[in-house]
Symmetry: C2
Subunit: 479 residues, 2 copies
């Protein structure tokens, strides 16, 4: 889960739409799911809870392949691996060629070289990481005084005189209480605007670089990477994230007196490369031309091994088709598993998929993406007409015993499918109470150990019920 | 808190000695504390809870001076700073010269260079840190296959054939459940034996290096440093700690097939240097020749800024004397604040202090050390005769409203005072429920933000009550 989707999260209307099981059912309607389909969904759910397929795939992608930044050898290896695995699962597989941005992290070090009370000849280390897309500093480092702001308003209030020649530290504090109440995504949305926009905002005032307090909940000296943006006509300046701790130390020292830092980051933006979406079809038996996309993204940030974000999303999507095949069930519509490339730093996979799909967008019956974590799912998010809700109610009932019964409407539910959503394709995602996801997301600690097998199996169960249910629904979805 | 003390923790007999306030008082005894002293203790506690002295000192040591590894410029700066602050507080200050080991961390990188499924040309990064005292690898790195063991028994069961030429990963798992129940120190004690002894155990079997799973509770990709040992006549091999996550990844990959790593650490052991214990006396009014030592250690590991371990211990010790002075109270015995040097990697400060003290050990009335954290204290630990307990009961009563009433006997209560303890000096320490300390201890995340001002004020209250109480006790302590 990267930038674009978080913007969607920021604008979500958090209107509780149902305490599903305490409300009377909607007025009698024509059949939504046949009895046969409902029975198959029960079987699929049971099979998902018993399967270790998604857990193993998540493990292989994160442990054996490792970080999968777009353009890396590991990303390419993951394309080949997932294509092979989809073939083994019995899908018709093709690779969709993409032109992708290639940004490569280099060395990165930071130190405080002047601060109140400093012992002569000493420095203090700063834990930092280049933000995705940033230009490099000189290899000998960028040394400048820091100036601390908490918001864009504070920055603009300072004006050019105070900012020119300095490195601006954006010290906006990730709202851990909001996260603790389950709304980690909202807390992220509030924080990530600084990660994305800091360089664009500070450069016009003459800043020579920006440091951004990590847009996550970790308090374990972990820097949180992610994309940042530049604007046409605005000077590009280097941008790095500092850990929570380093933001605290820097802000404290700067409040006491002149504080200068040396930041050295040496990332490179290389010419675009070639990569792929991996697309695997399980042909529909009645309406093969109607497509239900289900996917996650194959690329990850490079600091951790991208287990939560988003090997698990790819794995549960693959597992949905795998289980349908294993149980020898026949979806009415085509289930299309898509492992998207480049969600994190460019969105080339989502854009490339849409470019191909848009000519026949009416044949895209629905789109599902899992890119919000891999913990215990509490229900289903949807984007589109509010009339979609009754179509989810029977599915949520099947998920009752695992506690995944909440249904929630949201402006967008996944970055890779966002263009499909905007084009009117009914869109869905598993929904989580995000109380810990943003402690690991985009950091070095997004590793396979963070995946709880039982919780992942619940996610897998939700995904197969959602996917096969929508593929077999008896009526068209409102759009 | 470093190695030696953890050994003490390992051998602690966790015999609950009192549920203090539910038991009948011991039989009537002669007065232990005068009414005047008890009243003064109440005032001192109140003053401590209202004071920000210790919080500011902890902040200065950790933020403005930073990591204070023995022999570093920061350690020297902290000596000068603390001596100045003790003078400002009205103490008679002297520096006790010490010959200290100087070990300097260099570069450190690790990567997995061969593993099952690896994409050609890729590697995976390992988060590691050199253990204190380790020799360096070649600057081009040490590359070898890893072999994984969980215990020394497993290692010895493998024998030379399987170990020779390899890097042994000691994968003993820190017991997070034990920590969660409050016994972080015991969990640490169980784990730290591998950190300390791994190289000595593996080298005789022909291992070329060791990696040790971090001896702490962090699951945030943090490597946990600390001392390691070599033995005379045993080949020295490099030793580094890997994070929890990296231990998991390596163990998983090695379970699947040949896994080779490249480890590069370039620490240097330099000739011994000169450093100091900082000693500040507040002269006793009735028995000035009887000394109550109260202290913590000034040095820290170099990854974090040593706020928990142990700037806070030094700060609350200084504060104890500061408050006695501020309130213009007169301790009967001399209160001696000692900021010990080199607790973490050599113990030169504790040894040096004892070398000076041992000639008049009977004049060392008691010793107190705070080196077990800075969270809410639950009571007082003591080492020595069990008859010491009644001397603590009246103090614990004063601490009742802050919940610090437990009294517990333990074989040792602090590394710097351990030689005093062994020589019969009654010894004391604040006692904590250690549920989080070992998530930060010896890692980059031991930073000032981990100090809760309210909890630190409770610790300061306990320390001043304990220090002034013992300094004014009406009878000699059993020894």
């Amino acid at each position: 889960m990267a930038m674009k989707f978080s913007i969607a999260l920021m604008i979500v209307m958090l209107v509780p739409t149902s305490a599903l099981l305490q409300q009377p059912s909607p007025a009698p309607t024509p059949v939504i799911y046949s009895e046969k389909t409902l029975q198959e969904l029960v079987e699929l759910r049971k099979a998902a809870l018993a399967s270790d397929y998604a857990y193993r795939q998540t493990g292989y992608l994160s442990n054996n392949i490792g970080p999968r930044l777009t353009g890396s050898a590991q990303a390419q290896r993951s394309v080949e691996y997932v294509a092979d695995e989809m073939r083994k699962a019995g899908l018709d597989v093709r690779l969709q060629k993409l032109s992708v941005p290639v940004w490569v992290r280099g060395q990165e070090t930071g130190e405080i070289v002047e601060f109140p009370g400093m012992a002569a000849g000493t420095t203090q280390k700063i834990v930092l990481t280049a933000l995705g897309g940033s230009i490099a500093t000189p290899t000998s480092g960028l040394t400048a005084e820091i100036i601390v702001v908490n918001t864009y308003d504070e920055l603009n209030g300072l004006g050019r005189d105070k900012v020119a020649g300095k490195i601006v530290l954006f010290n906006y504090k990730f709202d851990r209480e909001l996260q603790a109440s389950g709304f980690g995504g909202a807390a992220y949305g509030n924080a990530v605007q600084y990660r994305f926009g800091a360089a664009m905002a500070a450069a016009p005032l003459g800043a020579v670089g920006v440091l951004v307090r990590s847009a996550g909940g970790s308090q374990n000296r972990l820097a949180h990477t992610g994309t940042m943006g530049y604007a046409d006509g605005v000077t590009k300046i280097p941008a790095a994230a500092v850990s929570f701790e380093d933001a605290e130390i820097l802000a404290h020292l700067a409040s006491e007196g002149k504080t200068r830092v040396r930041v050295t980051i040496t990332p490179e933006t290389r010419p675009n490369g070639v990569s792929y979406n991996v697309i695997g079809d399980l042909k529909g038996s009645e309406r093969p031309d109607e497509i239900v996309v289900v996917g996650g993204h194959l690329d990850s940030w490079d600091l951790g091994t991208g287990a939560l974000d988003d090997a698990s999303g790819v794995a549960v999507s693959m597992q949905a088709a795998y289980l349908v095949k294993q149980l020898k069930l026949k979806p009415k519509r085509t289930i299309r598993v898509v492992a998207f490339m480049n969600e994190e730093n460019g969105g080339a996979g989502g854009a490339g998929y849409f470019a191909e799909a848009k000519g026949s967008i009416e044949k895209h019956f629905a789109a599902i993406e899992s890119d919000l974590g891999a913990s215990h799912p509490i229900g289903i998010l949807f984007a589109g007409k509010s009339d979609l809700q009754p179509f989810l109610t029977p599915l949520a009932k099947i998920l009752l015993s695992q506690g995944a019964t909440q249904i929630q409407s949201q402006g967008g539910v996944g970055a890779d499918i966002s263009l499909l959503t905007q084009a009117g394709v009914p869109s869905f995602a598993p929904w989580f109470s995000q109380q810990t996801y943003f402690n690991y997301h985009h950091t070095a600690a997004d590793t396979f150990d963070k995946i709880d097998p039982k919780e992942l199996s619940e996610l897998g169960a939700l995904m197969v019920v959602l996917t096969y249910g929508i593929a077999n629904v008896e009526r068209p979805l409102p759009r």
